[in-house]
Amino acid sequence: MNVPKIVKIKQIINESPTVKTFIFDWTVKDEIPGQFMMVWNFNNEKPMSISLIDPVKNEIGISIRNIGEFTNQVHNLREGDELGLRGPYGRGFHIAGSKILAVGGGIGMAPVIAFCEEATRMGIDVHIISAATTSNELIFSSRIDKSGAKLLTCTDDGTSGFCGFGTDLAEKTLSETDYDMIVSCGPEVMMKKLFDIVENYRIPAQFSMERYMKCGMGLCGQCCVDNVGWRVCVEGPVFWTDELRMISEFGKYRRDSSGVKHKIP
């Protein structure tokens, strides 16, 4: 049933000055990295990627960057406080191949870390490009190290790792190493650049898209994308390259809560 389940916040991890991870007891069944939960704080409800799936401890986590009213309200919660969660929703990342490059930008690292941990558990060699504006905004680095994945950091200001955009480091990495697959989540402008790079390399790739959502269960149509009409909440949020080629609005514009289009900067 598509009804919020009330859960207590078991643990809060400060990932960076702007990002917190909220961990909940949760009977893990079919949750897949790349899927999302609708998070209800009794005032509003927003989609958030699952950033932790632990089938042994039966825990899931969501990671939230404090960017506005809703996220600020959630950031002010404490361990033991309650939230409503419904989900998991959407189509997550398909995990296949023996060597995978994962590229995460900013809070886009949330589904990427869940993917990284699941893929490495399956014995897959994962290389991660973690991109942020500055070094203290690089998140999940210790979890990546613990998973056994290879971490390549990248900051806009050069305070850690590669100095420049994640897409520049991805292009460099792709020219040096052969990968079976690429997964990515981050700002759409970054993913569009990466998409264009990947097209040249002809490597299968999956990208996690974000659109304004209301119902989350495939009915309201708020997150439908041009020109195919697919619902990001059901057919996505993860799309393969050949699907993204058909999504004409990818990297160009998105619709707000009323459905008015806005250019992606």
């Binding site: 049933m1 598509n2 009804v3 919020p4 009330i6 609708m38 209800w40 009794f42 005032n43 509003n44 409800e45 927003k46 309650e82 409503g84 209301k214 119902c215 989350g216 269960m217 495939g218 009915l219 309201c220 149509g221 708020q222 439908c224 994308v225 041009d226 020109n227 195919v228 009409g229 697919w230 619902r231 059901v234 619709r255 707000d256 809560s257 009323s258 459905g259 008015v260 289009k261």
Partner: protein, 300 residues
């Protein structure tokens, strides 16, 4: 075998995408058409952009969902840009809402050249500002709007009725007398409410929302059955249709065609093809040559 004609509009199957479901963009309307819908109805739009209510706007209950999206839409000027991108593979019907007959007729005139028919939403059970069922529960207001819109456009005008009235037959007759070309019935029931038992907090931000889905089908069937005997214009049945047997019930009760909405949550967009195939098989087995032969057969 499944072709029907509705107010001069030819449809390849008697199934339509209902208003309010995936109808905010030309892309999703075109997708429904490609997926087997005989026609598509847009999400209701008004004069100006409207964000609707804050989330949660939808929650599942036994037998369906309750929703209070709050008529979110980008306004007629933006929506015209969507309508221009319709691929015309199937007829398109614009669902409109407004606060009075002048708003309705202004919007209708704006989009007349881009769609095949207008559906007047005078039945949304959670609309603000005197829109929705506040109008549709009053036969005189409903008739005023129908009359004004009919004068301002040449394409067929459908009226979507609310079941939340004492006597739906009376409203239907007023709508017919005012010039409505067809009636769509029913809109969602209620409003209803769901409260979280852990916290005691109403789940929908708006607290109340319209009930749709399989739970309301018996009410919809009864409304169609009652109204069929009292009016001469076609009825478009809607409410809780999930498979071809549900469609047959509506046709037996007197609907000429049907709309499908909430069950897309269970079946995905494949629902139109599944239902069309089911109808074809059934009609073949029973020896029906056309949908027209089935309409209203439950009446003596």
């Amino acid at each position: 075998m499944l072709e029907i004609e509705l107010c001069g509009i030819k449809m390849r199957s008697p199934t339509m995408l209902a208003a309010g479901i995936l109808g905010s963009t030309a892309s999703s309307l075109n997708w429904a058409g490609r997926s087997g819908a005989g026609a598509v109805v847009t999400k209701s739009f008004g004069l100006n952009p409207n964000k609707g209510y804050a989330n949660p706007t939808t929650v599942e209950v036994t037998g369906g969902i309750i929703n209070a999206i709050g008529l979110s839409n980008p306004g007629v000027a933006n929506f015209k840009l969507e309508l221009e991108k319709l691929d015309k593979s199937v007829p398109a019907i614009a669902s409109l809402y407004g606060a009075n007959q002048y708003e309705f007729s202004e919007i209708a005139s704006e989009v007349e050249n881009l769609v095949d028919a207008i559906e007047l939403n005078v039945s949304c059970p959670h609309a603000m500002g005197g829109c929705g069922s506040a109008i549709g529960q009053d036969p005189h207001l409903t008739a005023d709007i129908v009359r004004t819109v009919k004068k301002s456009v040449k394409i067929p005008v459908f009226v979507k009725l609310t079941p939340n009235v004492t006597d739906i037959v009376e409203i239907a007759q007023y709508a017919e007398d005012a010039g409505a070309d067809a009636l769509t019935m029913i809109n969602s029931v209620g409003p209803g409410m769901k409260i979280d038992v852990e916290t005691g907090i109403p789940i929908l931000k708006n607290r109340f929302g319209g009930l749709s889905g399989p739970a309301i089908k018996p009410i919809a069937i009864r409304c169609v059955f009652d109204v069929f005997e009292s009016i001469d214009i076609p009825i478009i049945g809607v409410g809780g249709i999930r498979d071809h047997n549900d469609v047959l019930e509506f046709l037996y009760a007197g609907a000429r065609c049907v709309q499908i909405g909430t069950s897309i949550m269970y079946e995905g967009m494949d629902i139109f093809t599944k239902i069309n195939n089911g109808l074809r098989r059934f009609m073949d087995e029973k020896g029906y040559g056309s949908v027209d032969e089935i309409i209203g057969i439950s009446h003596d």
